[in-house]
Symmetry: C2
Subunit: 288 residues, 2 copies
């Protein structure tokens, strides 16, 4: 008991230290998937249940219906929240210290490495001789593509549309470049999940149409089509395909948000947008 | 009881018909995720447990350690396997018939609509007034990107490398086009999961290097770097980054397989390939 106490002190946080010494030390990155505490895979939940230390970060994505309390009940573990500061400025030292001693799980929204934030932590772990594993989770990327019914192999480079204060022409240029090759562009809209700040679909479209005004490359005009998606992966996702002049006023409700600018559409893709995204009949007469 | 029997006859297959009439009719597409029966999300498993009819297809992807028997035990349901013929030639009629009557689940490897095969079934269901929902699953696409440590937003268009009998220059041209913009290319390698046929990484590279011989565009030479990935999402994935002249002889073990041709690499991406994919030291001296 004394030894356990001193261990806790070294690690400077307060967690149950179960199965002491019964397992090999390792660091498992587990994807939480989308939306709520049931977005994790059965495998991911099992591994969490048998871990000695469990950490979680909730700032890289929004899981709108996730409750840490319910998740702790589901996996019967006390879970330590890790902040952006602890991960990026202190290099996740407390996670690495735990993983050096015992089986440690680090829970991340979506799939653990689709955001590159945690790649450094994994490299540091391996450098320090800590074995790492990944249990993948559902990613917002494939959920959005899947919901839209657009063909996966027709998506070009993905881009993030930043908040106005960091806005640049990059997203416009990526969309233009993809369109040149007939490809769709998936736009992730910037967010600060822990400050409850989300770039809206309407605002993102407005900023992109404004760039068009300067460039006049005919890439994002008021008559360009786009697909807005809110709450992908939840039980009430909203998809709306329309011309940007109409989409700019559409009420998508609660976040998270994303946006697709389609390239050339196959008739099957038009069918999907009409059936699942309320695309107006005008979509059937678009130039191929 | 008599009525239940006649229902079964109409549907022409033999399934337990539980909770008769207790739920709304609907068709839920659920992703099985990767590797084995524990790749499904907790939410997906719950919805399967409460369905009246459960169908599964296992031909669009290989889940190398999936056991239907173990999965049936896990969800306590009898599950009907649906063949490619039934889905593509008979338009999934039996699934739609079941979904018209009661809560019906259709289980699909990975994420349900990343392969476009099932989009038609969803459109048909909606046309017939059947409500549809999606419970997303982990997709091989994001798992591969995640495992590699390469930056997600630097991937261009994805391409499938077909078997020799259907081989064309398309994959080479897609890789060339992506490289021109400094982008990575994710290549899915063709498979016939139900015939146990898989295009190997070695064979795919050989075919691509042969095209280089004709084109001499300097896109895929023996000194081009690539990353082969086997069994993404399993407990023993293999990643190997190397020059194609060496990769062509590398033993990747069991399928499924995929392949990445990187574009311009950021030094953090090189670090990842050295740490997680055994990239040789020569990768550090590649032209940027």
């Amino acid at each position: 008991m004394k030894r356990e106490k001193s261990k806790k002190k070294t690690l400077s946080f307060n967690l149950h230290f179960t199965n002491k010494g019964s397992q090999l030390n390792e660091l498992i990155f587990i994807g939480l998937g989308l939306n709520d505490e049931k977005g994790i895979t059965v495998k991911g939940l099992e591994e969490t249940k048998t871990a000695d230390f469990v950490f979680i970060e909730l700032y890289t994505s929004l899981m709108p219906n996730f409750s840490l309390h319910r998740f702790e009940t589901l996996c019967d573990k006390k879970i330590q929240i890790v902040s952006r500061r602890e991960l990026e400025e202190e290099n996740g030292t407390q996670i690495l210290q735990a993983a050096k001693k015992s089986k440690t799980v680090f829970l991340v929204p979506g799939d653990p490495f689709i955001a590159t934030t945690h790649v450094t932590l994994r490299i540091d772990a391996e450098k320090q001789g800590i074995k790492t594993r990944i249990i993948h989770g559902t990613s917002i990327m494939s959920a959005i593509i899947s919901l839209s019914g657009l063909h996966n192999y027709k998506f070009g480079k993905t881009v993030t549309v930043p908040f106005p204060e960091n806005f640049s022409e990059t997203p416009y240029n990526v969309i233009a470049q993809n369109k040149e090759f007939g490809l769709h562009t998936l736009c992730l809209l910037d967010l600060k999940a822990n400050e409850n700040l989300f770039l809206s679909i309407n605002h993102a479209i407005k900023m992109l149409v404004e760039i068009e005004g300067k460039k006049t490359m005919d890439v994002i005009t008021p008559d360009t089509i786009a697909v807005g998606i809110a709450r992908a992966g939840s039980s009430n996702p909203i998809l709306k395909a329309d011309f940007t002049k109409d989409l700019v006023n559409y009420d998508f409700g609660e976040p998270p948000y994303s946006l697709i600018f389609p390239g050339a559409l196959h008739f099957m893709e038009v069918d999907s947008l009409v059936a699942f995204a309320g695309a107006p009949a005008g979509f059937r007469r678009l130039p191929k």
